[in-house]
Amino acid sequence: MSVLEARDIVKVFGDGEAATLVLRGVSANIEPGEFVALVGPSGSGKSTFLSIAGTLLTPTSGDLRIASENALGLGEKALSSMRNRHLGFVFQFHHLLEEFTALENVLMPVYGARQRIDAASRKRAEDLLRRVGLSHRLSFRTSQLSGGQKQRVAVARAVIMKPDFVLADEPTGNLDRANSDEVMLLLRELSHEEATAFLISTHDQSIADRCDRTLSLDDGVLRPAVPTTQFKDK
């Protein structure tokens, strides 16, 4: 069972003469636990594809299934529920809620699922923060954390609901090299430990090199999936 099945995804922005074709029939599958990079030059459609895969954007045509569930034509509530149950997000900017502690930020998706914050949820959030190296920062407000620490809190938040699939849009784009390496290592380890698939959009080849395979978008067309090593050889 694929966590992502995208078939012939087309996305056109605008209409008439102003219409811009951004994705020209992209098809891709991602399997459980896979760690996949999405690369391509600026304007190639990476972010658009990532947004469609995350159900944040509706394609003009095509089919999309998340964890075998049809993800198109759903109402607002059903989409929210699907995102909550199956998907996690890490963005270039952490987008943490400044007024809340690191622990509360990690627990936000649990609130979103209308779940009570029970001992098990709290323990999982604490374990995740410990796992990302922030056991000593649980009750710190996010304004008291460094940039790298904030992004690690965002990573913990992305996996708190045990999603099938995490979409990461330039997750290290705002970090220095050391923090970038740390976060990538963390994503990789969490992918294996949690059996969660990751699709990481990046323009940094060194980050793509750390993934199982790479999807390469160019002018809205996806090249055939290639193992990272093969990609590197080219």
Binding site: L56, S80, S81, M82, R83, G88, E99, Y111
Partner: protein, 411 residues
């Protein structure tokens, strides 16, 4: 709702100064509301008290007597002469059934029989025209607060005792214990001269109403009946009701039940009614504007908050927090600000009204600003201000809920 409560309170606490100013704005609006309510209601009560305090709420009297035949018409029909102002001295001869009925009627606080008539009060060379009011001694303070208005003497009304206003006492140059001659304004039946009585001044009052203080003489009902030659009858039955605004309804009911002419204080003060209505309308408008100001303040502050937290709202939406939860989060903020602001406003408004009353109260005990702190409509102000704040939060809340998560995150 736990999520919404948590986020709403945290957002408010995060922007402490803004929340404080917003709450203060709501509080000021509530103070204005309660101040207007206390002032206008107090003014209304004072006006009504001034008008009805010393007068009956409902009066039962006989229909005016038909004027006597003036001359016969050529074709045998009667012609009548109508002379406005002529004292025809109609009386209620069998007043006790009507009095009992009035006393049993729901909403009636008290009903007393009274005798009215014109007379002259003389001492030595001085003569003054007076209006006699005959009342039962034990009911002397039922209509006008005579006992409370006494400045000298006591309210002792024996058959040949009187109580008079201070102005009249000064004009006559009499004091407590002085004897004066009271001469009826009409001749006795079958006699060419009016009845007279030598009476003793037992009390001097001041009701603050010039017409009464300089002209009215209170005396025992029986004594007045004898003097005015109205034995067994009374001029009116005067009634006080529990709710002054129900006086007309009580009057209608008693008019039908007694076949007497029943009129209420409202019938006699139509212009006052109009004035009070206009005053109530103005008060409602000012209170409405204060609520509108609160609503605009809350809405604008929350709009700013939504704009500032666009990306946060986007991220919340991206991991599955629904539009309903976002709406509730912002509406709760409006309700919290409205609730706390109202609470503070009610407390300060109550204190302000008391302070104003105290400061404006003169030595005489009468406040120059007729505010009544008890009538500040505090509960209504708090509920309306909180509801207005909650409703005002709906628009920014809907704007927040419509934020496209992708657009917000990318921005």
């Amino acid at each position: 709702m736990v999520f919404e409560l948590r986020v709403a309170t945290r957002y408010l606490m995060a922007a402490k100064l803004q929340s404080l100013l917003l709450t203060a704005g709501v509080a000021v609006g509530v103070i204005v509301f309660t101040f207007m309510a206390g002032l206008m209601n107090g003014l209304g009560v004072r006006l009504i008290n001034d008008v009805t305090g010393s007068a009956a709420h409902v009066t039962l009297e006989p229909e005016s007597r038909m004027p006597r035949v003036f001359m016969a018409a050529p074709l045998g029909q009667a012609l009548f002469a109508i002379e406005p102002g002529q004292d025809v001295s109609a009386i209620i001869r069998t007043y006790r059934p009507a009095l009992e009925l009035a006393r049993r009627t729901p909403g009636v606080r008290a009903a007393v029989p009274e005798v009215f008539g014109n007379a002259t009060l003389a001492r030595g060379e001085k003569n003054f025209p007076v209006a006699i009011t005959g009342i039962e001694p034990n009911e002397a303070s039922t209509i006008a607060p005579l006992a409370a208005s006494l400045v000298r003497g006591r309210l002792a009304l024996g058959t040949l005792d009187i109580v008079i206003g201070r102005t009249l006492a000064e004009d006559l140059g009499v004091d407590i214990g002085d004897r004066v001659v009271l001469r009826s304004g009409r001749n006795r039946k079958g006699s060419a001269s009016p009845a007279t009585a030598t009476v003793t001044v037992r009390g001097i009052f001041t009701l603050g109403i010039q017409a009464i203080d300089e002209r009215v003489v209170y005396m025992d009902l029986g004594g007045a009946q004898n003097l005015l030659d109205l034995t067994g009858g009374v001029s009116v039955i005067e009634i006080k009701v529990d709710d002054v605004w129900q006086a007309s309804a009580v009057a209608d009911r008693l008019g039908r039940g007694t076949h007497l002419k029943a009129s209420s204080w409202l019938d006699r003060n139509a212009r006052l009614q109009e004035g009070l209505r206009a005053q109530a309308s103005s008060s409602a408008m000012i209170k409405g504007f204060s609520l509108l100001t609160i609503a605009i303040g809350v809405a604008s502050a929350l709009y700013l908050s939504v704009a500032r937290r666009r990306s946060e709202i986007g991220i919340l939406r991206s991991f599955g927090i629904g539009r309903g939860a976002i709406v509730r989060t912002f509406v709760l903020q409006g309700l919290f600000v409205g609730g706390f602001g109202s609470l503070i406003g009610v407390v300060l408004g109550f204190g302000f009204a008391h302070l104003l009353l105290e400061v404006s109260t003169k030595a005489s005990g009468v406040p120059s600003i007729p505010i009544d702190p008890a009538q500040g409509e505090y509960l209504r102000a708090a509920v309306l201000a909180t509801v207005a704040s909650g409703l005002a939060a709906i628009l920014p809340a809907l704007t927040a809920a419509r934020i496209d998560p992708l657009e917000a995150i990318q921005s």
